[in-house]
């Protein structure tokens, strides 16, 4: 199993550009999540999904969109990139929320917006 994979690993965007961060998991997990991690801060939840076709906002959803057309894939779309979106983005998956056996994280995408 590859686990959770993310592409790209690094990206530099100009202000106002758009991009999609890709996330795929091969563990047949129903739950998938997108987090951002800023220096000195805890991981912040952007969006999550409890299954194909179902998504919901997390703590910091503004400026982002997601879709979940399959169990395996959960792409994150950035529209009109802003410097405040400079961060490291992590995708994660889990079997469910109860009992919670922990999340499996991808390697991350480091995004810089200039």
């Amino acid at each position: 199993n590859a686990g959770v994979t993310q592409t790209p690993k690094f990206r530099i965007l100009k202000i106002g550009q758009s991009m999609t961060l890709q996330c795929t998991q091969d563990m047949n997990h129903n739950y998938m999540y997108w987090y951002r991690q800023d220096p000195g801060m805890g991981l912040k939840l952007i969006y999550y999904s409890v299954g194909a076709g179902i998504t919901d906002k997390g703590e910091v959803p503004n400026g982002y969109n997601v879709s979940r057309s399959t169990t395996e894939d959960f792409p994150l779309r950035l529209e009109l990139a802003a410097p405040s979106q400079t961060s490291v983005y992590f995708c994660a998956s889990s079997t469910g929320t109860s009992p919670f056996r922990g999340q499996f994280f991808g390697p991350g995408t480091r995004l810089t917006v200039l």
Binding site: V4, Y35, G40, G42, K44, G102
Partner: protein
Amino acid sequence: EDQVTQSPEALRLQEGESSSLNCSYTVSGLRGLFWYRQDPGKGPEFLFTLYSAGEEKEKERLKATLTKKESFLHITAPKPEDSATYLCAVQAGGTSYDKVIFGPGTSLSVIP
């Protein structure tokens, strides 16, 4: 407001020097507390889940404990390969989605 804090922010130990990391939390309806290890440039790696006060979990040189307000990650005789950032997270229940809140982490350096 649900909150997770971790201390110290950074910890530097000599190889073999045991110590503890602290995770304090205030959440409504704790469903579980989790410890993760994060190496530089990588995603967090799940270590433990603790569900109730008094529970303990062990893995090699690490032992996690839980009380009603905090959790400790005890590191016994650490080795340089234990150097990493350790993240604590809690699962708060009572909503349509059981929210997971992460602390800022403790950066551990173990010097040979």
